[in-house]
Amino acid sequence: MLLNQGFMNPAAMSRSPNPPVAADPRQLRRIIAEDPHWFLNTVPSLSNLCLQSIVNHFEERPIWEDLSPVHKDFVQERLSTSMPLHVTANLIHDGVYWKRCCEKWGGIRDLTHYGNSWKRMFFEKHMENMIELFIPDVTEPKTFVKMVPLCKDYIKRLNISQLLPPVTEPQKEEEEEEEYGSELVIENEDGPSMDHFDFNIMLAKLTNLEEFHVVYRVKQCGLNFKCKMLEMTHRDCESLAKAVKSCKTLKILRLNLSHMEDTKCRLLVKYLLDHPSLRELDLSHNLIGDKGARAIGKLLNRSSLETLNLCGNNIGGPGAKALAHALSMNSTLLSLNLRLNRVRDEGGQAIGKALLNNNTLLLLHLGANEVTWPSAIALSKVLVQRSTLKSLNLSCNNLGVDGGKALEEAMSNNSSLTECDIRLTEVEEQSASFVNQVVWTNQSLEQRRHARERKTKKTSTAVY
């Protein structure tokens, strides 16, 4: 050792006959890697080494079920997030691994919205992403076919905020000819189809799906904007309707901002009739007119819908009449939202009459519907005779003084309504304040009742 050093560095040799040990460069150099599990002293235990090797070869030999819970945690923390899903999907239970996957994927959302399951969050995100970036005729549908069996157990909700149309623009075609080959061009020459992603591929296979939100639009299209981008085609509607029909577990369907006209609406309704589980239907901000409304009225009595949202459509008097007719025979619907339509007095009166025969509806929204005093009178009759309605919204309608007075009288005999919105309705200040007063007292009464119920519940639970 000494000789060796002297040989390497004669100067050091001459300076000190016995050079210090630290002069050895190998001992001076100590790299502490950026590894939080690195220790200076301790040799990692054999079990850890084994687990590390399991982690390293997880793709070829996934050993998971035989591990103890502590070791599972260890593996979860170290497993690569880029592991193919067909290995991990059905093997690794919900936990740190899926959290890491979500983190890698970016944009962690509120876990409580996903039933406190990281795995569900990851798979829903993954599926949504795949669908939103799907380009018809370009992306292989096989990828979906492969993915669906892996994630069908974990997806409960799909919130699809955009659907890309197929590539059709002729000037683009020339550019893309080289990229996508000639077959695509020939197909497009037959007739430009604007069909979007076909949900039939997968919706029936997702056995746990409960919520489904779709918007047929393109986000951030920039200067390539075309009106057609924001519409769903006839064929889209048909495929979607078939898909929804095939999905027997679906509870909530939302189809917003998709340029849905009467014909499409009728088509959709035709497939939704007698759906076993659908509870909530949201078709707000479409172009549904009277015919569509009539179809929906038919749907109301051939399903178990509880919530119907048709706000921002084009429903006029006849449509509202049809809905009212359905309401008068319905016993499932709890909430009806017709905000921003054109119901007018014709519809308002019809709905008022229908409610006299209805015992279930709790919430009615007729805001901004060009309703005037006759409907107000009709509704005040309902308030007097029925005590089911809890919330009524008539804002932005020209009810006038007469309407206000009618409501005032009705409210003096009502003790169930806890919400009543009559702002911007040209009602007299006096009657409006009276109505509000009654509503507030009703609220406090309701609260007391709730408190009492809760108390009795508590005592009853305490007894048992």
């Binding site: 986000k219 951030q220 009106c227 901000h285 706000c311 911007l424 507030w440 408190a451």
Partner: protein, 691 residues
Amino acid sequence: MEDSDMDPEEAYEPSEMFENEEAKSGASTQEDEEDPDMKVDEEPYEIQHQEVDEEEEEEEEEEEGSEKQILPQRVINLNRDLTTLVTNIQTAADAKESLRQAELEEARRLRLERLEKDLKSSQEIFEEITRGWSLSTQRAIPQELHEALNNQQQLCDAIIEDKKKLINDLQQELKVGDDRFVKDLRKQTEELDLMMERMEDQIKTLIKAYREELTQIERVYTQESEILLTKDKFEWDQHMKGLWEEELKRLTERTVKVEEYENIIHNMMIDTWRKHNIIQTKQHARFQVLERESKQLRIAKFTKTHTRHEIAESKFSLTNIKTRLSGMKKLMANLSDKYKSQRDEFTKKSRYLSEDYERKIKQYECIQKQLKHFAVADGRKFEEMWLMIDAEVKQLVERALDIDSQICKQHLGVAWERPVMGFMELCGPIQPQRVPQLLHTGQDSQDSQRMMDPSVRKEIEAEGSAVQSESGAEEEEEKLPMETLKRVMELLCDKASFLMEDTLLKLLIPLGKEGQTVVKLGSLLSCLGIEEKDIPKLAAFLLKYRHQQREQTEDVCDRSGESNNKAEEEETEPTTHLTSDLDPYDVVPALKSFLRQHMRSRESSARQHHSVYEAARDSSEDEAYWQSMGSVICEDQLRLWDTAEHKLRQYQAVLADISALVPETESLQQQNRELRMLLQQTLKVSTDLEM
């Protein structure tokens, strides 16, 4: 979220401008949509917020508990007012939207009317033009025709102008609509911002209000509890005071009463004591009388009761004994059964074992016979071998001597003497035994190294009679009484305990004396290598040793008649004097000497036993014998032989040289002879000549 929503809408606005009129309706719907879109965004906020408020309320309620179920009006009002503040914006937007829609519808209606009107007017003009064309065909004069054409052109221009105007107006409208759309967007964003602001304010104020409420409630509670506490304390103190006073009163009363009672008790005690004394004396007297009577009675009764008692007891014990007897009998029967079975078993076993033993003995005898036979056969074979080899060797010796004598006599010319060779006369197998006998004749009879032969055994036995006699003496002394033996052994154990291990001694302490000696003796004997049967010998030896010693000392010291007396005493009472005779200090040397002797005798006896069959020959003697044969020619002689051989070799070489030279000399002589003859002839010739 909102930005992302806004961006595309703003982005596709310019493109909307270039849409043709038909797309207008679409565009208008687009505008319709854009507004609700934002509403949709607004709603969740609001709803969430309301929910939050409700939750807060509920929490508040639960905190307050059962006493205050209803919120203070202030908080409820705050809640309500603030939410209305927020929702006001929404409703306002709704109203605006509905108004806008109404306006749009109106505008659309007006536009349609205008278009229709325009269509009508333009159609009229168009009809006029077409009529004009038909008229113009009838005209033949070119000037008229020209005029008509001009007219037509004017009409067409009018139509085109009208259309252009219309288009311009519509485009203007479109532009206005676009501007309005942008303005609306801006306004809506402002509204949204305002709404958010208000919501935040609401949250803040509500939180503040709730906090205040909470502090107030806390304060009220603390105050209440304080008040209650002070009240309770005061009450408690009062009660305590009353209680103390009452207690004190009672205490004094009690002390007074106690004193009274004490007095009464004292009096009563004295009274009773006096009465008691009187009664006692009376009783005493009566008792004495009674006692006297009872004594007489008891004496009478006692005899009766005693006998009765005894009978009962004996009966009881008899029954007891009977039951026990029966039990014992059973036990006996059992035991006898067991005994019988055991006995049978043992007899069987013993029979079997005895048979086995006999068989073994027979086997043993058989083997002994075989052994004897083999020994005899071996001896004979050995004899024959010996004789044969001896004869050969003797011949060889004779030859060697012959050669030696020849060399000496013939070559060296020295007188040769036959060396003394006693062994040469010996012959046969007896020779080897005799040789050692001759060699060791004067030696002691410790003949352990001698080889035994059946023929010579008797002699040896006679020679080893000393040992035999010793052992015989020992045998005789075996008949020493057991008691002496025991005592000797005890002594031995005591004295020779240093030979044993300390741990063993420690372990033996709890045992009784006899047990100790037995174990000690066992270990001692095992370590000394003495067998159990030798014990009596040892005892006898020890006694004897003592005698010898004493005799020696007596011989040396005083040869008075005491010795005889003592000897007589010893003879008479050997046992009593044993312990005193055996001096403890002598035990160890005596033991040593015994061991020495014992070992020797045992070795010899062992040899006696074993030599009968083993031809344990002394190879050293044999070797000496054969050596003596081999060294018949001594070293000097051999050296002499060597030198003689050497010289003879040299001599032979010289002789060989000479023999080689002989023919040469012969040929030379021949030549010489011929030459002489020639000379003679020549001489003869010359002489003849001369003659």
